[in-house]
Amino acid sequence: MIGGAPAQSRVHPAELLRLGSMGLRTRRLRASLSALGVSIGIAAMVAVLGVSASSQANLLAQLDRLGTNLLTVTPGNTFFGQAAMLPHEAPATIGRLDSVQAVSSTAVVSNATVRRTDQIPPANTLGISVRWTDLNLLRTLQGSVYRGRWLNAATIRYPAVVLGWVAAQRLGVVDLDQPTQVFLGGRWYTVVGILQSLQLVPEIDRSALIGLPVAQDQFLAGDSPDTVYVRSTPSQALSTLGLLPRATNPEHPEQVNVSRPSDALAARAAASAAFTSLFLGLGAVALLVGGVGIANVMVISVLERRSEIGLRRALGATRSLIAVQFLTESLFLSLLGGLGGVALGAGATWVYAQVQGLPAVVPAAAVGGALGAALLVGAVAGLYPASRAARLSPTEALRTV
């Protein structure tokens, strides 16, 4: 042994965990309070990511359910900037495309309003428009009837009306157990049906639908549609979209606008993701504050445990082993906070999802990222206190206070 350098001081790896957690086990309240700071930050981040992932999952599920093969055709503008019209034979010409399964046309009857009774002033439209339609509408939109039935070859010629979901609610027509009439364009119309809500075409939800023949008779409506709905085969939605302008108006395809309503839904899914970055930033600020809390508690801990540091140095701990002990403790604290925060955030996501009727989704990347962020904060927060503990000279640490 004489002359040779003494073997290195070292600690069995399992002991590091015990050493690092000792300070927490003996000061539980303080440990949990300082971990809480990190928990709040992590919980905020996990909840934000979870909630946004849940609503996105919901939007995507909606897209799946509603399909992406519903297309709409609307009139554009002429070369001179005037509003163009769709040819009345457009549904027929569109229907000749191989990839089209169903076509339906509709237009607002601009000189008609619908009211619950004739006592209500005509200006009070409740945002409900009167539209004429053909019999294909329900099939093309793949909608369903909530009460009563859809128009048929007979009722389409008579003063009968089918109300969209929102229109029925606004008019206060909840069921059709009793024969129900509404006052439409100066005449009483019998409500024959109420439609289920159509998420892709909210304009139909807010409409009172009457047949084209009766609209022509009573309101002198033209037969040029303002909207043509097209249901294509699912795999050919995009190619059909490209064919629609020419199929609608072979002479002036440039005066036709085509769109896919489900695109708006997909855009909403993307937009909600962009919005979360703001809240993530807020979560990061909370996490930072939590990290400062941990650093604070660790500095106090180093001051309080001066004699323990002195003792450990006397027992043979190197400076770096002292630093590692306090760093481990700081990491433990932040990990504790991180785990608590993930649980809190996942819980908040679950509650939100339950309340909103969404599928609860907490992305694994969010959990991993949150724990990583917590550990990073713990490491940074522990660095200064640990180096302070390590720099303390053994004699100074052992000096009685």
Binding site: S9, V11, T26, L311, G316, L398
Partner: protein
């Protein structure tokens, strides 16, 4: 063979003017010796203990502990030397509250890298040796002062160090437990341990096989002086 060898050691503490705590101390401690370093407070005896225990460095002179010239060692090697060759007993015991008596004692071997099971086995033996075999699962707060200091002694000898340094080990104890503790140190000495006790109590010093008296940073009396 000398466990400790100090030659003309000078230790200054910075200040205005600087304080010379040790002014040319030479001391050799042979293996198996027991000495009592006695001196009034401020005489430099604590500094002497720190220098012998490698907790502090000498400014001048040579310090050898267990065959290692301390001036040539860095922090890692000094720490390793403490872990392997030196056991400390402090006036304030310095037992850690969050752990049992057994684990406190096992901490004497912590920095040797041994797994907990082996350290506990050694700690159990050491505690039985100091007469605390029945207190293994207790916590330091449940012990009397005398028992606490015996735990500290068990922790200091659990790794069979070449040198045990006891700094005022009876300072916080009543007379009876103090006497019992000194008896224990005597017994350990008779079993072969090299022990240096630092004290301000002249009676303790007089009872030791080799009293060494320190005054104003110098050794003024040493019966076993090697040169």
């Amino acid at each position: 063979m000398n466990v400790v060898e100090l030659v003309d050691v000078v230790k200054r503490y910075p200040g205005d003017p600087p304080v010379e705590a040790l002014r040319g101390v030479s001391l050799a401690v042979k293996e198996g010796e027991m000495l009592a370093i006695v001196g009034r407070s401020g005489s430099g005896k604590s500094t002497l203990l720190h220098v012998m225990g490698t907790l502090d460095r000498a400014d001048e002179g040579m310090v050898c502990v267990a065959g290692h010239d301390l001036t040539k060692l860095g922090d890692r090697q000094l720490s390793a030397l403490r872990a392997q060759s030196i056991g400390f007993v402090f006036q304030q015991f310095f037992l850690l509250d969050g752990m049992t008596v057994l684990d406190n004692t096992a901490d004497g071997l912590l920095y040797s890298g041994l797994p907990l099971r082996e350290r506990r086995a050694a700690a159990r033996k050491a505690l039985e040796r100091v007469g605390l075999g029945h207190r293994l699962r207790h916590h330091p707060a449940q012990l009397s002062g005398g028992e606490s200091q015996r735990v500290a002694i068990a922790r200091a000898v659990v790794h069979r160090p070449a040198l045990v340094l006891a700094d005022e080990p009876t300072g916080n104890l009543d007379t009876a437990s103090g006497a019992a503790l000194l008896d224990l140190l005597q017994e350990l000495h008779q079993e072969g341990a090299t022990i240096a006790v630092i004290t301000h109590d002249r009676d303790i010093a007089a009872a030791a096989p080799r009293p060494v008296e320190v005054e104003d940073g110098r050794i003024v009396r040493d019966t076993g002086r090697a040169w």
